[in-house]
């Protein structure tokens, strides 16, 4: 499904001027968000073997975030725009919130979806002769495939059976849908809020503008130091103006 969607939107996503760099930066942000969650997992997992697995995965995500950000910056600088900088994603604390098993199922789904999308993007760039972008996706797909595999194997091991692992993946899928629903709600609420605040601003702003005086510069005095009476008056020689 993810691959099909990616193939369908490819021509739109990558052809709109300036959009490719933003899209790559959004991948960078997603990888950085994933890196933050895996860093948490590497800190909190009780078993050193699993800490090591999460740590290696975290390093891959960190590298991917940097690769996407650098490619995005290349494209933007080439177009005379400034780079979007380093990605700083929000921390969702998924390891703590979901527990290790559900977290693994969630990561496994994400890796699978990411690999499918990236394969579609790689094919698109290969078809257009953009070897730099195609090789970026090729390198990352290799890691995503490995992540997809190990998260599945570990999930089965921790869940106790393939059937229980599948149940966890289904539960993670449901949780993801719930998250999408909540995010959608938040976006709508933000827009409604923005609109409401803008109306309030336009109505009340002119009146407040009349009532609220501009701030004067200079010192606002609050008091004197206990024994400051002996100190000399200000000297004019300090002024650089």
């Amino acid at each position: 499904m993810a691959a099909l969607r990616a193939r369908l939107v490819n021509p739109i996503v990558w052809r709109v001027p300036g959009h490719a760099a933003r899209k790559l930066f959004s991948f960078s942000l997603a990888e950085h968000g994933s890196m933050l969650d895996l860093a948490s997992a590497a800190h909190l997992a009780p078993d050193p073997e699993r800490r090591a697995l999460y740590l290696r995965h975290m390093l891959d995500e960190q590298r991917h975030a940097r690769m996407f950000a650098m490619r995005s910056a290349d494209l933007r600088l080439r177009d005379g725009r400034q780079s979007l900088g380093f990605p700083v994603a929000d921390n969702e604390d998924l390891f703590e919130r979901l527990g290790e098993l559900r977290f693994l199922a969630f990561v496994h789904r994400g890796e699978k979806r990411g690999r499918q999308q990236f394969e579609a993007y790689r094919d698109w760039f290969q078809g257009r002769g953009d070897r730099k972008s195609a090789s970026l996706f090729t390198a990352i797909i290799r890691d995503e495939t490995r992540h997809e595999q190990y998260t599945h194997d570990l999930l089965v091991e921790l869940a106790g059976s393939p059937a229980r692992a599948r149940a966890e993946i289904r539960a993670a899928s449901l949780w993801e849908k719930w998250r999408i629903w909540r995010r959608l709600g938040r976006v709508i609420a933000e827009q409604a809020y923005f609109l409401a605040m803008s109306v309030i601003y336009l109505i009340s702003g002119p009146f407040f503008r009349l009532a609220v005086r501009p701030r004067a510069a200079g010192w606002i005095n609050h008091g004197a130091a206990p024994d400051a009476a002996h100190v000399p008056p200000p000297s004019r020689e300090w002024s650089a103006a």
Partner: protein, 573 residues
Amino acid sequence: MSAVLGISAYYHDSAAALIVDGEVIAAVQEERLSRRKNDPGMPQRAAEACLRQAGLEAQDLDRIVFYENPFGRLERVVLSSLRAFPRSWRHFPAALQSQIGSKIWVLDGIAGALGVPRGKITTVGHHESHAASAFFPSPFEEAAILTVDGMGEDESTAIWHGADTDLRCLASIPYPHSIGLLYAAITAFLGFEVNEGEYKVMGLAAFGKPSFQNEFRTLLQLQADGAFELNTQYFAFHTDINIAFSPRLERLLGPPRRRGKAWDLTGDETDQRYADIAASLQWITEEALLGLAREARRRTGSPNLCLAGGVALNCVANARLLRESGFSRIFVQPAAGDAGGALGAAMLGAIELDRERPARMTSAALGVPICNDAARALCGSLGLHWRYPGDILDEAADLVLRGKIGAFVRGRFEWGPRALGQRSIIASPADPGMRDRINQVVKKREPFRPFAPAVLSDRASDWFAEHDNDMTPFMTTTARVVERQAGDIGAVRHVDGTARVQTVTAQASSDFCGLLERMERNGAPPIVLNTSLNGAGEPIIGDEADALGFFMSHPVDFMVLGDILLEKGANPS
């Protein structure tokens, strides 16, 4: 006696600090644990780490103190937006959303996150927290205090007087007249991230000449009594939440620099112009701070000055203040920015409960320690080879002297943005080429960025002048390199002949001190190049997992991790 937790959050660099029975038990920035650079979120991990360090539960706390008054800030945001009507039409909804959506509920958020009754949580003023964080950990019985920040609730700058447990505000300058916001806007103009790139601007300034003094006098008008006025027509922080400067600034200073473009200060005239702008900004900042400091001296008559607020992290300006402001001694604690507000808030709470001033700060190692057992187990799982040398510090010193670049990870991590020998990259300070190697290959950052030297405190005068003060233990000032010794430390001498020196004593960091002693015993100066242990865009390393991740993903030659030594020759890079 009492247990008081201070919290700063929801702007940038959130942090928690814990004081138990008058002693600072722990102080931790959230970014070290969340791995999100400049993390502004609720510092739950940091708070829990502080409590773990003390062996306490949140329920054991007598008080939690938040570092500013959320409603005071809300009032300022609303009023400043309305003053800028109608230019602030984009700013108003976005700023209010951020305030009403989360920030004004912060006290309930803290209660919920830590599971403590809401009644235990109080607030103090933003600048009061800064002032407390500057004065109470200082070595002074009484002092003038300057808090110079981007903004607080309603002030950007304030003069205080501190004596024993008493802290009194004498005067303040209201928002939007702010040196911090000027510095932030020009940081953005030069193509750096605001709240992150300011120290890059400071490093860049040394490569330029202050040839834009007239332009900067237009931006910031300095007055005879130390006050100043920001010409807000050139800025947009009060009208737009995403843009710091207005088109008028571009007309004054020329086009802004594109973020992400590689720097070339060897032949590119345009980049040289940006360096001159940075130098001019540094010049006006120093002039403004000198005016403020002299006014603080006039109002208090004190020979001592404490500084806090983001602007106090400008170590070049701090050195000039010590030389020219008339104060005999100046103290700047290592987390002088917003993170430090957590420490100040905790101290104010502790003083209110105990009526006693907390102990002075002698070491910045207030964070979470390395767990040696966990480090060894993780190395084993990662397939990394490690060993226990007989004298690990001696081996590390030997590797540094052989030109190797190492990571030094021992004990509890530092409080504040500086690596002070607990989470440091170390290398020989002798070869100037080492600076380029670390900048380009390890840290992947701008070529003009300087590195700091760490030197044994009692040997510092052989290499540095003006180092004997209260700031060098925390790397919050610079010192001149003694010219005849400059050849010994070419990698850490900045282009202007100074260095952001850290003087090391056994009391502040026994391991780091031991390393430097062994350097000297092996016939070298007791100095190492010391820079923060992090990659580009990453927070400084926190625990053993972060450290091993760094070792595996960056081209350092060796790592001292607690009591074990890892070398790249024995491990894949």
